[in-house]
């Protein structure tokens, strides 16, 4: 039976509904993680296409085709950013069988809605991320003969991605919370679980306290993990000198250094070859 008092009731609910809470957390995280990932891929693709430079005078056909594609992508971004996700979920879940005669399962519908929603937001973020990279980076890449594709994949996108990492994190956290609107199509995510737990014994305050705590724990863990990933992407603060700076030491006065750091394999090999060539005897110790 339902015990008296706030904390005993919370414990009671947790015990009684542990399985549905666990399933709720699982679905919430599954939908949020997978959809954020797919959404980022969509956003990346759309954002990249939207920043392809076109020159009407050079290739008119390509220019006009791109204009059409860009228009369609723009429409996609505007429509999905401009309407509530809850309505989109209902629209797609109930509308698809009606219009196209295809029935989507609840979960696939959930993935679809959250992904294309995230994609619409990410497209703008990616576009901004690409535009924020100094044009000098592109010129540097062009000057060594890279084409547009090579410039994007090896120079611009890695930097743009690093810069939009906080936004990707933002989207993940928003998605964890916003999966709650999928209750409308019956996905048994965390809010759905909470509602059923609350309804059975009329313990609304207790049940929603539990949900608050769970949501916070999930988003907090994710935001910390993302910070760690960002740090990783930045690489070490310091770098190891591979050997002495020849110019600082003055030409001809430098020699092979003892205790070289791990990463110097190549330098050592190169120096060894050179030393052999010069037949100089003093390689090795300081």
């Amino acid at each position: 039976m339902l015990p008296e008092g706030f904390f005993p009731r919370i414990l009671f609910l947790l015990e009684t509904y542990s399985q549905s809470f666990m399933q709720g957390i699982l679905y919430t995280m599954l939908i949020a993680l997978v959809s954020t990932f797919i959404g980022c891929v969509i956003g990346l693709a759309v954002g990249i296409v939207q920043t392809i430079p076109t020159d009407k005078t050079e290739n008119a056909a390509k220019h006009y085709i791109l204009q059409v594609i860009k228009f369609i992508l723009n429409a996609y971004v505007e429509i999905f950013r401009g309407t509530p996700m809850m309505i989109q979920a209902a629209f797609i879940y109930y509308g698809l069988p009606y219009v196209f005669d295809v029935t989507l399962g609840m979960l696939p519908a959930a993935f679809l809605v959250v992904s294309i929603n995230t994609g619409a937001y990410m497209a703008e973020t990616v576009r901004g991320g690409i535009l924020s990279i100094d044009p000098g980076q592109t010129e540097g890449a062009m000057a060594i003969g890279m084409n547009h594709f090579q410039t994007m994949t090896s120079v611009i996108l890695p930097q743009a991605l690093r810069n939009i990492m906080p936004q990707i994190g933002n989207n993940l956290i928003i998605n964890i919370k916003d999966t709650c609107v999928l209750t409308i199509i019956g996905v048994t995510e965390l809010t759905y679980a909470t509602r059923s737990a609350a309804g059975a014994y009329y313990t609304f305050f207790e049940a929603y306290t539990i949900a608050m705590v769970f949501y916070f724990i999930l988003t907090f863990i994710c935001s910390r993990i993302l910070r760690v990933i960002e740090k990783r992407m930045d690489g070490p603060e310091n770098f190891a000198l591979a050997m002495d700076d020849a110019i600082v030491l003055g030409e001809g006065t430098y020699k092979y250094h003892g205790n070289p750091v791990e990463t110097n394999h190549d330098v050592r090999e190169f120096k060894r070859d050179e030393a052999l060539r010069k037949q100089s005897g003093n390689g090795g110790e300081r």
């Binding site: 980076q137 770098f239 050997m243 700076d245």
Partner: protein, 247 residues
């Protein structure tokens, strides 16, 4: 006009909207030439270099590379740029890559060399500019002079036929100018063909084989360093040089 010029610029003009920045520019670069382009700010020096490297599209005239125009159908601008290197005033090193990767990216991605081979090349040129110890550093961890030396090594790793420099020392603190100029001096002595836009008159005087003085989008006067610096003919050249030597 001789046949064996690497680069010939013929009647080149460039407009930005209604602003005519280059007018009927004519000059040639032969193998082993070190051509210094001097002139006041805004006279079109950068634009000329950027046209040569196709970072800007010329509005008129033509540029020939070994006698054939660098425009038109079937011309491959990327392949051309791989043979004509460029160093920028603001270095433009790839911020997401280490010093070594900056120098390897071109040979591997553009010239399709193996990583091993590219590494050897990169190390050779990094050694030449004295930056071999810094292969693990990211650009943000380097001083301006070091960045420019890496940028030079990155361009050299492509083994270009011509190397263009756009005011390579203008963004540097005075004590760093020397290290970059000394590297460039070495390259000139080794016979690398270079076109250098610079305000370093001593460098232009000592190192170049040919000096071009530009004013308001035209070549006002050109000749050997002696001709330009010792016996300038044009009044504007004299005036420009006086302003520089009196500083």
């Amino acid at each position: 006009m001789s046949e064996n010029a690497i680069i010939s610029v013929r009647h080149l003009s460039k407009d930005f909207g209604s602003n005519r920045v280059l007018r009927d520019v004519d000059f040639e670069v032969h193998e082993g030439d070190v051509t210094c382009i001097i002139g006041a700010s805004g006279s079109g020096k950068s634009t000329l270099l950027r046209c040569i490297n196709l970072l800007e599209k010329p509005s008129g005239g033509e540029i020939l590379f070994h006698g054939s125009p660098i425009a038109g159908h079937g011309f491959d601008p990327c392949g051309y740029r791989a043979k004509v290197g460029m160093c920028f005033q603001s270095f433009n090193l790839f911020n997401n890559m280490s010093v070594l990767d900056n120098c390897i990216a071109g040979p591997v991605k553009v010239q399709k060399k193996s990583r091993e081979e590219a590494k050897k090349l990169a190390m050779f040129y990094l050694e030449k500019v004295g930056m071999a110890p810094y292969i693990n550093a990211k650009p943000r961890q380097l001083s301006g002079g070091q960045k420019q030396r890496v940028a030079i090594a990155r361009a050299l790793a492509m083994q270009p036929e011509v190397l263009l420099f756009d005011e390579p020392t203008s963004a540097l603190d005075p004590q760093m100018v020397g290290e970059v100029l000394s590297v460039m001096r070495t390259l000139a002595q080794e016979g690398l063909t270079m076109i250098v836009v610079t305000h370093e008159m001593a460098f232009a005087k000592d190192v170049s084989t040919h000096v071009v003085y530009m004013a308001d989008g035209v070549i006002c006067e050109e000749g050997t360093p002696e001709e330009i610096f010792e016996h300038p003919k044009e009044a504007r050249t004299k005036e420009f040089l006086e302003r520089f030597t009196n500083r």
